[in-house]
């Protein structure tokens, strides 16, 4: 056990700063997509946030989000991939989506299953769209595979975090999730202010 921890710390300590858009994993486009996703904190935060919210709303909402999150992301990514938009900074939509997801978790908003699914799909599509825009330079086939990698990562992340919250029975544990939502919303709001300041 101790040896495993030492190995992890050693590996983390030795690794250079991650540069998602500057280097590839060397394992092919699918893993490049997975790497891109996990090295984009705004994307990871949103995916975790949506999964936590779905978990708070129960097993059926969790199951819906398991499909809506990767599919929404994939659809948004493909729209970005084939759009004529110039590559733009996605900080404002990221900030707004983080704020929305955070507020929903913090308020433990009692949305029905279909509404949770739509919200998850829309938020995922917005993030996926900016991923798609950024991936155009890789070419359509490689970008497809990268998006598939992202969708697979999303599926696993959504499954883990929504299941974690669904399994929580003690009210105090659910409150911890809501506090995490408040933090997510706060991060979104600060990021929005930051993005507006940068544009001035």
């Amino acid at each position: 056990m101790k040896r495993r921890w030492l190995l992890i710390i050693g590996a983390l300590g030795l690794c250079p700063a991650a540069q998602a858009h500057l280097v590839t994993t060397g394992l092919g486009p699918v893993y490049d997509g997975v790497g891109h996703f996990f090295l984009s904190p705004e994307d990871v935060l949103l995916a975790v946030g949506v999964a936590l919210f779905a978990g708070l709303r129960g097993p059926s909402a969790g199951r819906s989000v398991l499909v809506a999150l990767p599919l929404g992301w994939l659809a948004g990514g493909l729209a970005g991939l084939f759009s004529d938009w110039a590559a733009v900074d996605g900080q404002v939509p990221s900030a707004v989506s983080l704020f929305v997801a955070g507020v929903l978790i913090a308020a433990d908003a009692a949305l029905p299953r279909w509404a949770v699914t739509i919200v998850a799909g829309l938020l995922a599509a917005a993030h996926g769209f900016y991923n798609g825009l950024a991936m155009r330079e890789a070419g359509p086939v490689v970008a497809w595979l990268q998006l598939a990698g992202i969708a697979a990562a999303l599926f696993i992340l959504a499954a883990l975090f929504s299941a974690l919250v669904v399994a929580l029975r003690r009210p105090a544990a659910r409150i911890v999730v809501r506090v995490a939502g408040s933090w997510t919303a706060a991060i979104g709001l600060l990021l929005l202010g930051w993005a507006i300041r940068l544009r001035r």
């Binding site: 700063a17 858009h21 935060l45 900080q91 506090v179 990021l191 930051w194 507006i196």
Partner: protein, 205 residues
Amino acid sequence: MNPSSRLRPLVARAGLLVWCLTALPRAQAHIEHGEAGGFASGFKHPWSGLDHITAMVAVGLWGAQLGLPAIWLLPVVFPLVMAMGGFMGLVGIPLPGVEIGIGLSALALGVMVAAEVKPKHLVWPAILVGIFGLYHGHAHGTELPPGESGLLYSIGFVIATGTLHACGIAIGFIHRWKAGQIAMRALGGVIALVGAYFVWEAGRG
């Protein structure tokens, strides 16, 4: 296995996680021009001023004194409203008397803890904490150094704020003992005195 030996690996892992997050080179998923720092610098910011530290710990202490559900309501409200203040500061919306407001927050929250004030309705502590959170957030928003990574800085900043609340709540566990209650009230008195000093300083400046 006794509870303390069960907690030890958890504490060790939490310490390792904090070390990893603060000491390792920052991920650069989306390189921006002029990024000077990120998570570590955001995490350090709330710890940089005694006025901020005392007020945030006082929020946790007061929450612990009020018990459920205030113990979680206040730490939910404070970061959200503080971020709203941070947003105002970042986009340049002025808020008058920020320094006095911050000093007053430590003074007022310290008095609440010292006197162990328990309002009938939970909305009053939430409003009070919310107003003060706005002042703290505004000060942080205007002080943010240019050229930082917005997202990583914000994540570090919010986690540090939450950690300060958690410190207050953790100290508040002593409230279950009589001596602990007295110690907490004494701590509230000290926070109020620190707050009074900052109000005086802000008034002079």
